[in-house]
């Protein structure tokens, strides 16, 4: 047992990565595994020695193939998707499998400046000995270039545009210029960048076209079927509820299914039976939001409704998740209630509760 709260991917799956090392195919310089072994690691399967490899990503194989093939060329990879589509998860496992190190990570925020992306200075050294390589403070990007490893940049679009553009030289010339020392640090083979970004957020910094051109983009989709999503959500809800000491009432699956049905129908713009087309609200209605809604409902149920979870407890959070734009989205929801939910007997409670909450 370890007292570390969360182990990195390469630590958790060390044995699988070890087993996959045996794959004998050609591997790009600087890669620990062959591209095919990386795919097996992500999608699950059998290692050459016969050991089972658990799937890390459940979804379309071709997306993972595109991602791995991108990293095998010298193009950078941009993973996009709404919250809760496993972007960071995929990026961590790609780094763990390809470089054996998923910790070269820059968490991008509006406050991240160039010194956190390129390099900073150790001012004590700088004052004592003048500018020298020793006085440089290496960022994860710089270390990745030196070591020939993958650098992960999370929530890339939250970086200011000026800071984003410092990446152009790195991605196209594969060097990091240090004008203060009159030198440029060349990247070793095996270096590449995996960026993740949310494609539905507003108020973030779109990539400049010069930068966009240097990325191949893979969009990770939301779960394809209702059952798949119900599975993911109910697992996460139970985990979160346990962590928060919230009791999970019986029959919670039914409520999860109901909430997800509403979310999925509005998100996809069609009813599950694909008979009625609907308008979609401006929000993302991601799996992550469905989880948030349900945990909110559980909390409400536990503290104010004697542990009973039903439409009444969930309606307010559902409206909160659906109606992001008070005028437009409200009309969308109203229309959905009147043209779809009203006619479904099983949803009469939701129809009433959502109408009240509106």
């Amino acid at each position: 047992m370890t007292d570390v709260l969360r182990l990195t991917a390469e630590e958790t799956y060390a044995s699988e990565l070890e087993a996959l090392l045996e794959d004998s195919g050609p591997r790009p310089t600087g890669w620990r595994l062959t591209p095919k072994a990386v795919l097996t690691y992500l999608l699950g399967g059998q290692a050459p020695g016969g050991a089972q490899v658990s799937p890390k990503y459940v979804g379309a194989r071709r997306l993972m193939e595109t991602a791995v093939a991108t990293l095998a060329t010298d193009r950078a990879l941009l993973l996009m998707g709404v919250p809760g589509t496993a972007k960071s998860w995929v990026s961590e496992h790609l780094a763990a499998a390809i470089s054996g190190d998923s910790t070269l990570l820059i968490q991008c925020t509006a406050g991240t400046d160039e010194t956190q992306v390129r390099y900073g200075w150790n001012y004590a050294q700088l004052l004592a000995h003048g500018p020298s390589e020793e006085a440089l403070v290496a960022t994860p990007l710089m270390r990745a270039m030196r070591e020939g490893a993958l650098c992960r940049m999370e929530e890339f679009t939250r970086l200011g545009s000026d800071v984003q553009d410092t990446m152009i030289t790195v991605l196209s010339e594969k060097v990091l210029p240090v004008p203060e020392l009159g030198m440029a640090l060349p990247a070793r083979r095996g270096f590449n960048v995996i960026a993740t970004a949310n494609n539905r957020d507003k108020g973030v910094n779109e990539l400049s076209s010069a930068l966009k051109r240097r990325f191949n983009v893979v969009v990770l989709p939301l779960p394809a079927s209702l059952d798949e999503e119900v599975g993911i959500v109910s697992r996460r809800v139970r985990e979160l509820a346990t962590g928060l000491d919230l009791p999970v009432p019986r029959g919670v699956e039914e409520q999860i299914k109901a909430v997800l049905t509403v979310f999925r129908e509005l998100r996809s713009g069609a009813t599950e039976d694909n008979k009625v087309t609907l308008k979609t609200p401006s929000g993302t209605l991601s799996t992550a939001e469905a989880i948030g809604t349900l945990v909110g409902g559980l909390s409400h149920a536990a503290w104010f409704a004697d542990g009973q979870l039903g439409a009444e407890q969930l309606a307010a959070s559902m409206v909160g998740a659906i109606v992001k734009d008070p005028v437009q989205d409200k009309a969308v929801l109203e229309e959905y209630l009147e043209t779809v939910l009203k006619k479904r007997n099983a949803y009469s409670q939701y129809y009433g509760a959502l109408n009240d909450a509106l």
Binding site: P35, K36, T70, R75, R213, V219
Partner: protein, 768 residues
């Protein structure tokens, strides 16, 4: 003489290219092709300069063209290339499959299938999910469609064995995209032999193969050189097998026979796609054409990517050549990762999505159709025998005794009689094909009645138009349905679509109208323009009513119309705000139209409740456009949702001094537009209006005079006189006193003011 078998894939450009190479090498004396034996005479026409693929061999039952089978050929179809090779090299070209009559007869026998067999679902290249319309692959697929009816997918099994997820890709890699010519045909035949071992053969399949075997043996006997047999890969092991001729003849006994005719017809590239219901179709005709045209060229990937880039640039996306280079590199990396010899269709697709489309799958799907389906339509020489569609139209013309005449004449039809209905159907269906033989004279009025008045005039170019429409089907009903469905997919606005659905009902084209309904539903849901929603309610309602004279179930339309009204009602509040005069006018017109439509439909109480609630809200909304609010008030009053007392209260409130005069005047106009006669009969309303009019300042009154005039303009002089009388003396003693006495005072004052002026003018005049 030796017989060489060439197992090909229908419409496989790779097969075609390898085949041409192999034929050049072999130089056979006879080329036998899988195709209806009785169409052999038509083969030489393929060499004509005026024959431009895609074309199809069209075979139909003489007395019922809706029973038809077709054998389409694209430029890259191995069968077509084989025939061309034979014609150009002086070899004998022959079709060896069962005669077309047997194929049609077989289809006719399959109970319940022949109805759906009119190969006309297609043409709709719009959002129909692939595989959704599987009706009639038998009739549809002739040469290869039959292959689809087999108990298993032989290609899929082979591909599975090779570790491919998708049979198509495997076949592509093996044949189409492996330009090295080699013993690939032998390998495929062998693999097919393995596959066929544990498959029970359909009796009809067995007959086809027996027939082909006999023909091959016959050709081998008489030919003075090698014989090449070009047929679907599946059949090769059976054709090569040694079976006594007597056994084959026995198998062939009892073939279904019908009287049939065969001809060439132009075909559309898009209809080759398997998504449009053609059994042996290919997934992407556009891609196949690309593979054929760039066969053996190194830059073929670059050409494909450039085509994508061009399409994207046309739509305003900036795609740099550098991105194309990156896309090709990624495609190559993907192919390597998948152990494929070359980057194929899928690799190029995924690479372009990642590099050119910014990962956006949706954008790809938008472009996909244009890229993959293609829009080419073939041509056949003018001296080709008349197309079955033309014949079918002639047959119906004879049947309903309606002669095509160039002289214009009028025709009145009673839809209650069988002959009237049939004639009307003929004219409506021709109309749906945009062959306007008849013009419906009172289109607007006749809805809902049993009488139609037409003006007929036949133009020679109608026949030409019909030949062009053969692509859509071989009989009138099928072609009209397919063509109308196609047009619906292109309709821009909701009401245009509603109109097309109405046309489909009038022509009793149930398939087209089911499809139209689906499109209408989808479009309605995505429309947030309340004006469009309202505008669509009225034509739908008219169709529902008109449908009563037709044998079409219009019940779903009623539900849709009600849903549209509900959607419009929910959005009304926002739609009525911030409008200028013109927009408010059209919204009010929409409201009136929709309201009338709902009454026509006798819409359910729930719908009406939502509708009236929205109108009530609109009337009370001071931020709404006054004209629309007034119109809502009028509709509520007409529907007796508002009592006379409430209406008066409403008018008083909306016309009270607190309201801006301009707004109030518009409200008034909205309330009384097309209902001005109410002012004559409805005393309380008139009093309310009168009081308001008297309360406003002279300046305001003059300012809005044109508007008041507009309201009253629809009254004729008689009505105006009665209104005047009603105002002047209709309303109690107090008003009477005022009305009569006041003018006298005014006249006195007037005279007093005018007299000095007149005098002054007279004095001043001469001076000037």
């Amino acid at each position: 003489m030796t017989v060489h078998y060439f197992p090909i894939r229908h419409h496989g450009p790779g097969s075609a290219a390898s085949l041409v190479g192999a034929l050049d090498e072999l130089r056979p004396a006879a080329v036998l092709i899988e195709g209806p034996a009785d169409a052999g005479e038509l083969l030489p026409a393929l060499a004509s300069d005026q024959m431009k693929p895609p074309i199809a061999l069209l075979c139909y039952k003489k007395d019922d063209p809706s029973l038809a089978a077709f054998w389409p050929f694209a430029e890259y179809s191995p069968e077509y290339q084989a025939a061309l090779w034979a014609l150009r090299n002086g070899a004998q070209a022959k079709f060896i499959d069962l005669p077309s009559a047997a194929a049609i007869g077989h289809d006719a026998e399959e109970a319940g299938r022949d109805e759906a067999g009119d190969d006309n679902e297609d043409g709709d290249d719009d959002g129909e999910p692939p595989g959704a319309d599987q009706a009639g692959p038998e009739t549809d697929g002739a040469s290869g469609g039959r292959d689809a009816g087999r108990p298993l997918d032989p290609i899929g099994r082979l591909a599975e064995a090779a570790g491919y997820e998708d049979g198509e890709s495997w076949w592509c890699d093996l044949l189409d995209q492996n330009p090295a010519p080699g013993p690939v045909f032998g390998a495929v035949a062998e693999a097919m032999g393995e596959l066929r071992t544990d498959v029970e053969l359909d009796p009809f399949e067995a007959k086809r193969e027996a027939h082909m075997r006999l023909r091959v043996a016959e050709a081998a006997r008489v030919a003075d050189g090698p014989v090449a047999v070009v047929c679907g890969a599946w059949h090769v092991p059976a054709l090569a097998a040694k079976v006594p001729a007597a056994a084959d003849r026995k198998t062939l006994a009892g073939l279904p026979r019908v009287k049939s005719a065969v001809t060439w017809a132009p075909w559309a590239e898009a209809r080759l796609a398997s998504g449009t219901g053609y059994g042996a179709g290919v997934r992407a005709p556009g891609w196949n054409l690309h593979v054929w045209r760039t066969w053996g060229r190194e830059e073929s990937n670059a050409i494909w990517l450039t085509r994508i880039a061009r399409l994207l640039r046309e739509r305003g996306h900036d795609i740099s050549p550098a991105s194309l280079i990156e896309a090709e590199r990624l495609a190559l990396a993907l192919a390597a990762l998948r152990d494929r010899p070359r980057a194929g269709f899928e690799e190029l697709r995924e690479a372009s999505v990642a590099c050119l489309f910014g990962g956006d799958d949706l954008l790809w799907r938008l472009l996909e159709k244009e890229l993959l389906l293609g829009d080419q339509v073939g041509e056949v020489p003018p001296d080709t025998e008349a197309a079955p569609l033309v014949k079918d139209v002639r047959r119906i013309q004879r049947e309903v005794r309606l002669k095509p005449e160039a002289m214009e004449r009028e025709l009145a039809l009673d839809l209650r009689s069988e002959s009237g209905r049939k004639r009307s159907l003929l004219l409506h269906r021709l109309g749906a094909l945009e062959v306007p033989w008849g013009e419906l004279l009172d289109a607007g009025r006749s809805r809902g009645t049993f009488r139609e008045n037409w003006r007929l005039r036949w133009e020679p170019e109608f026949t030409v138009a019909l030949v062009e429409r053969v692509v859509w089907g071989s009989d009138l009903e099928g072609a009209a349905s397919a063509y109308l469905t196609h047009q619906m997919g292109r309709a821009g606005s909701l009401d245009a679509l509603a109109q097309a659905v109405g046309d489909a009902v009038a022509a009793e084209l149930s398939e087209a109208w089911t499809q139209g309904l689906r499109l209408l539903e989808a479009k309605a849901a995505l429309t947030s323009d309340v004006g469009q929603l309202l505008a669509a309610v009225a034509p739908l309602a008219a169709t529902v009513r008109y449908g009563q004279a037709r044998q079409v179930d219009t019940e779903p339309l009623r539900a849709l119309a009600e849903r549209l009204a509900v959607e419009a009602a929910l959005g009304l509040r926002h739609a009525a705000r911030g409008l200028d005069d013109a927009a408010a006018g059209s919204l009010a017109a929409g409201l009136r139209g929709a309201d009338q439509g709902l009454r026509l439909l006798e819409a359910g109480p729930e719908t009406m409740a939502v509708w009236f609630a929205a109108l009530e809200e609109l009337v009370d909304d001071s931020a709404a456009a006054a004209f629309a609010a007034g119109c809502a008030g009028q509709l509520l009053y007409t529907a007796e949702r508002v009592t006379p007392a409430q209406a008066v209260a409403l008018l008083e409130r909306r016309l009270s001094p607190g309201t801006e005069v301009a707004w109030a005047a518009r409200f008034l106009e909205g309330f009384f537009t097309s209902q001005a006669a109410r002012l004559i009969y409805d005393t309380p309303l008139r009093v309310a209006v009168d009081q308001w009019l008297r309360g406003i300042s002279a300046e305001d009154f003059l300012g809005h005079l044109p508007l008041f005039r507009r309201v009253l303009s629809e009254l004729d002089s008689m009505e105006r006189k009665r209104l005047f009388e009603a105002v002047v003396r209709g309303s109690g003693p107090a008003r009477l006193a005022g009305a009569v006495v006041l003018p006298a005072d005014v006249w006195a004052a007037h005279l007093r003011a005018v007299a000095p002026l007149l005098a002054g003018a007279q004095e001043g005049g001469p001076d000037e």
